[in-house]
């Protein structure tokens, strides 16, 4: 069994490398494999300034969002909760908007701070609401989260109209990696330590998934781990939304697929979640870039369509079992 899982890991890592390599050669400027030994200055510039930053940000966002989904699912004890279905992403957008209204001259750091705190606050509020729900069904809790997210989005939109920043808002509505160039995506690196910390705490997050009573009986400081989890996902959500925009479904479907295939023992499954998340997002990005070549479809759209279909399949499968 361990040998088998090692093979799967090697296969996934290999697949990721190959896809990543291919993705560098997709784009409006025609650079092919055969040119690799005699790139001119412009080619090198395109690769270094645009293609590689784009690739890195997709990998980080893919890993980060999937792992975030996994962690909130453990915390909320619900497989259909994710940063998209609990208001966290809407709250990040609201935070960015507020910082634009209150500190129009503020830079990335101001936006990030605002957006992080509002995302964290919204996540905490969602958990408190979810804890009050008597009928904790698989579908009902995320539905409440979606409503909660829509309320936040509605409030944000109201202020956006009032202060004439609707157009600025649009940029964060649908995830899009085409604007990413060297110099404007580096805050995404913050998601890397977040993933590492998540892995170090994998056992504790698994125990949180056994429920509060069982976790406490095993001597876990339940509250501390829950808040740590919300803190981590708020950082990831903030940096991803600020650089690429909202990427829906990723945090929802990737952990579910991994759970069906490999179970819920996070120490074992978190690497799979990250790898599959990165591969999934990279494939979606490559489709977005080639389907209407030389134009580009926003990746949020591709992810939504593919993710939506997969999600529907998961819902139907789960509902049959539960």
């Amino acid at each position: 069994m361990p040998q088998n899982s090692l093979l799967i890991r090697i296969f996934l890592i290999l697949a990721l490398f190959i896809l990543a390599f291919i993705s560098i050669f997709i784009g409006v400027r025609d650079i092919s494999f055969s040119d690799i030994n005699h790139l001119d200055d412009d080619d090198t510039l395109v690769i270094v300034v645009s293609r590689i930053p784009r690739l890195i940000s997709i990998l980080i966002a893919g890993v980060g969002m999937s792992v975030s989904g996994l962690i909130v699912q453990q915390i909320a004890l619900n497989k259909f909760v994710s940063p998209t279905t609990m208001g966290t992403l809407d709250a990040t957008k609201m935070g960015i908007l507020l910082s634009m209204i209150l500190f129009p001259a503020g830079g990335m750091l101001t936006k990030m701070t605002f957006s992080f705190f509002i995302a964290l606050l919204a996540s905490i509020i969602f958990l408190k609401i979810a804890a009050q729900i008597k009928y904790r069904s698989l579908i009902f809790v995320p539905l409440v989260g979606i409503v909660f997210g829509n309320i936040i989005a509605a409030i944000a939109t109201f202020f956006a109209y009032k202060y004439n920043v609707v157009q600025n808002m649009e940029g964060w509505l649908v995830g899009d990696f085409s604007y990413i160039i060297k110099g404007n995506y580096e805050i995404l690196y913050l998601a890397i330590p977040v993933v590492i910390i998540s892995y170090l705490y994998a056992h504790k997050f698994t125990i949180v998934g056994l429920g509060e009573d069982a976790a406490k009986s095993l001597g876990l400081n339940h509250k501390q781990i829950v808040y740590l989890g919300l803190f981590l996902i708020s950082i990831t959500a903030t940096v991803v939304v600020l650089t690429a925009g909202v990427i829906p479904f990723l945090g929802l479907i990737v952990p579910n697929i991994v759970s069906i295939l490999f179970g819920d023992n996070l120490k074992k499954t978190l690497p799979y979640t990250g790898l599959i998340g990165a591969i999934f997002l990279l494939v979606c990005d490559m489709i977005s870039r080639t389907i209407a070549f030389p134009y580009e479809v926003p990746i949020g759209l591709t992810v939504s369509i593919i993710g939506g279909v997969v999600f529907l399949g998961l819902v139907l499968k789960k509902v049959r079992y539960v």
């Binding site: 069994m1 004890l77 056992h203 504790k204 698994t206 125990i207 998934g209 056994l210 429920g211 509060e212 009573d213 069982a214 406490k216 009986s217 095993l218 001597g219 876990l220 400081n221 759970s259 069906i260 179970g263 819920d264 023992n265 120490k267 079992y321 539960v322």
Partner: protein, 252 residues
Amino acid sequence: MIEVKNVSKSYGERVILNDISVSFPEGKIVALIGGNGTGKSTLLSIISRLVKKDEGEINLLNQDVFEMTHREFAKKLSILKQANHPNVRLTIRELVAFGRFPHSQGRLTATDEQKVDEGISFMRLTDIQHNYLDELSGGQRQRAFLAMLLVQDTDYILLDEPLNNLDLRHSVDIMKTLRALADDFGKTIIVVVHDINFAVSYADYIVALKNQKILYYGPTAEIIQEDRLKEIFDLEMRIISHDNCKYCIYFK
């Protein structure tokens, strides 16, 4: 020794426990009995710190339980609640291994692995130890959680209706296991049981709760009297003796 002193608990207007004092002797099985809503589960939850008390004191070996660290407490006392079985996809072995968490914090030593093996085989789960919990029957899952509790290896074990979901054979198995844990390993066990005959057959002491208070507390033989049982359960019971054991008859 677990000492409960003047503990009260209410949710808003609704009083659950009213000034409860009781101490649980070492190495014995104590059964908590009483009708629904008499506060049995709440009392267990308060002792195990899962629910905050409004007033009173809980001492474990003369130390206030609320002053212990999470880990220190989890090495001494474990609890299995009736409802803590969410739909997680862990294998039986993965789950049981988490019982060692208070001791090893996730890094299992050879001793830990051995204890996990023992716990699994004790609950007769060895053949299915690599199956996922969500593929098991209710009874198998219950036994997996009990195995985790065994592996946690605490001196004090609290169980909230452990016989839920179990068929008769496994119920008897579990009660025999508890008996062995008390007799052979000196564990102190407090268990909420609904079936009075299991309490009569296996418990050393019985605590009967009614109207938010302790109605009776004493050695099992003293509590098992027709007039007292009628008062506890509001139900006519007949006690018969068979092979020196008492049984309560109340079905008709």
